[in-house]
């Protein structure tokens, strides 16, 4: 007994020593740089900064159906940030979704993805965050609806839907693929938006990256279906998109525009290639059977064609081919052919601005049509765009348009 305890103590000591040895190297520039890079991958700054505040000082209200989650302050401030947390506290938050005081974190913080990060990488992130200026900013308390206001209920959720564990490389795949998988499944947490969710807000099983809804957007499929995903994009196309915000197929705008501006445009090409290699290998699943093509004299298509010809063709051109890297082509446009048309309807209603990057600084913006077109007209032109030029996707109904209009009016105006 004494021997076992001694051994335990000894091994703990070794572990601690080892940790100390590691900690001595903690402040190395290389580690902090690695942490900074991972924070870019993770786009932490996007959620952990509010519109008036300093970066990473938290306080951003994140609307969920269960109430508003306020992002915490992750600067090193000891009172209002995470400066008083130990390394283990920080690791436990990232790896297990548990805060320093032992309470459960809500998965608005995507710990189910961050769990995949190695401990070394989590510590590198910590090392970088420790270099940020400490900002005294007490963020508002998150108060979700009953019973979720009791964080202990998240134990149940975690039990059902969350299995902590670092990423395990697949020996059958290339180094590049594995790097991409690690980035996408881990820090990049792409599936947080791009993977469909079940009724309790967890990722649907075996449907990774097949498109997901959030906050009146639909993040499109980025798995490898030809029509609706990235199947027709080359690795170079994907790299160009993530780096410059646009490629010959599309341009990043709205929330993805922010991701490009704050995250992917800062990553080295090797990471972008790895991400592209991986997602092109993610199975998009069986493509849904295309709906029957609309009849020649279809009234909705006729109206949509008229609207398109008079108005949309000004930028997207009469033949739908757009001007690559400027006005996205609509022919074979994956975003326009998602089974869920929310994003298409939304940009028709409110307009959208393409992200500006150093390489492509011109922020082309599509104007808002909500005041100009009625619900049945928006539905008609959306249906037209989804089914012209060889495109194929379910029609859009006036009811869908009316519903989104109402939702958007209720929500505060954001990107």
């Amino acid at each position: 007994m004494r021997t076992a305890w001694t051994l335990l103590l000894a091994s703990s000591a070794i572990a601690v020593l080892a940790a100390s040895v590691v900690r001595a190297a903690d402040t190395s520039f290389a580690k902090i740089e690695r942490g900074r890079h991972l924070v870019d991958v993770g786009d932490c700054v996007a959620c952990h900064t509010n519109s008036k505040g300093k970066p990473f000082a938290g306080g951003l209200p994140i609307e969920t159906p269960f109430g508003t989650v306020f992002s915490p302050n992750i600067t090193p401030d000891r009172e209002t940030g995470i400066g008083a947390w130990s390394d283990n506290d920080f690791y436990r938050a990232m790896h297990n979704g548990i805060a320093a005081d032992g309470s459960r974190l809500y998965p608005a913080f995507p710990y189910p993805y961050f769990t995949k990060l190695t401990r070394d990488d989590v510590m590198a992130i910590r090392a970088y965050l420790n270099t940020l200026p400490a900002v005294k900013h007490k963020t508002p308390r998150t108060q979700l609806d009953w019973p979720l206001n009791y964080r202990v209920t998240m134990r149940g959720w975690d039990l059902l839907f969350f299995k902590p564990g670092a990423f395990r490389p697949d020996p059958k795949k290339s180094l590049e693929w594995n790097r991409g998988a690690y980035l996408v499944q881990g820090a990049g947490h792409c599936g947080a938006c791009h993977t469909p969710k079940n009724t309790l807000g967890a990722d649907e099983k075996n449907k990774a990256l097949r498109g997901g809804t959030f906050a009146n957007w639909f993040a499109p499929e980025i798995a490898n279906n030809m029509r609706s995903g990235t199947g027709s994009w080359s690795v170079d196309d994907i790299v160009e998109y993530l780096k410059t915000g646009r490629n010959k197929h599309s341009g990043a705008s709205g929330p993805m525009g922010q991701v490009v501006a704050d995250s992917t445009s800062k990553l080295p090409d090797s990471d972008l290639r790895a991400i592209a290699t991986y997602i092109k290998d993610v199975d998009g699943g069986p493509a849904p059977a295309p709906p029957p093509p609309p009849k020649q004299d279809d009234k909705v298509m006729g109206a949509g064609r008229a609207i398109y010809g008079d108005s949309c063709s000004a930028c997207h051109q009469a033949d739908g081919k757009g001007v690559p890297r400027m006005f996205p082509p609509l022919v074979h446009n994956a975003n326009a052919q998602q089974h869920d048309p929310t994003t298409l309807i939304r940009i028709l209603l409110q307009g959208t601005q393409m992200v500006a990057t150093d390489k492509r600084p011109t922020p082309f913006a599509m104007p808002a049509f909500d005041w100009k077109l009625k619900d049945d007209q928006i539905a008609a032109v959306a249906t037209f765009v989804r089914n012209a030029w060889g495109n194929s996707a379910p029609p859009v109904t006036p009811k869908q348009v009316a519903g989104l209009r109402q939702q958007l009016q209720q929500q505060p105006a954001t990107e």
Binding site: V45, P65, G201, T213, A215, A303, S311, W371, K372, E415
Partner: protein, 247 residues
């Protein structure tokens, strides 16, 4: 189970990203812009669309004059509807009730002086005041000259006569420069006949159909080199055309 605010959307994450905002609205200075080109969704500086309804500017007497006068300026005839049919009266009413009528963007400080012809409009009257004064004066002239009949009650020929006289200043109106009024009135009538229907006139795009102007059509590239070809494009306004509605 938690009460769901949004039954249709299962969502846990709402990405509201407002960092990198380019607008620092500081009360002390009007607006400081740096970092990126400003943009907000749905911020269209869109046009003010006229809603039909009772007159906001013309009295019923004035409305009678307007209906009659615009029918002479751009008559209904075998070429098609005229200004009255095109709802130019509604257009004029809304224009005069708004900033144009109030001369909101004109320099309306004194002192006042008639000036030379080349110095332009020097009346202290806003268009709204000009219309009120001139219509009154014209009707007053007509009742005097035509045995108690106001302008609207005259025959078409008599009306033309009066309008020509006001236009040339051969008819001197009481207390108002008729020639200046007529210039503005004719210009506004033409505006009402040919402007986008959202402003209340050019009803059903009859003005555009008269001349063959396709309206707010943005891409003419397929037609640039079709020299000499009549295009017969259905005219379209800012709020569209009948073909835009599935029916």
């Amino acid at each position: 189970m938690a009460r769901r605010r949004d039954v249709n959307r299962r969502q846990l994450i709402s990405a509201s990203v407002l960092i990198g905002s380019s607008l620092a609205i500081d009360c002390a200075q009007a607006r400081s812009i740096s970092g990126k080109v400003p943009w907000q969704p749905d911020e269209a500086n869109k046009p003010q669309i006229v809603k039909p309804g009772p007159n906001q500017f013309f009295t019923s007497d004035e409305a009678e004059f307007i209906d009659a006068a615009i029918s002479r300026l751009i008559p209904n005839d075998d070429l098609g509807p005229g200004a009255k049919e095109a709802d130019v009266a509604l257009f004029l009413d809304r224009q005069l009730a708004g900033p144009f009528g109030k001369a909101s963007s004109w320099y309306m400080q004194g002192p006042w002086s008639k000036g030379t012809k080349t110095q332009g409009y020097q009346s202290r009257r806003t268009p709204a005041e000009l219309y009120h004064a001139a219509i009154k004066a014209i009707d007053s002239y007509c009742t005097g000259k035509f045995g108690g009949k106001k302008f609207a009650a005259l025959s078409a020929d008599q009306q033309d006569q009066v309008l020509k006289g006001v236009e040339s200043a051969d008819i001197k109106l009481d207390g108002v420069d008729g020639k200046t009024f007529f210039t503005v009135f004719l210009q506004n009538t033409i505006e009402g006949f040919f402007s986008d229907p959202i402003y209340g006139g050019n009803r059903d795009m009859v003005g555009w159909k008269l001349v063959g102007f396709p309206g707010a059509h943005y891409d003419y590239r397929p037609y640039v080199e079709k020299h000499g070809q009549k295009l017969d494009l259905p005219p379209v306004g800012i709020k569209g055309r009948p073909g835009w509605t599935p029916s």
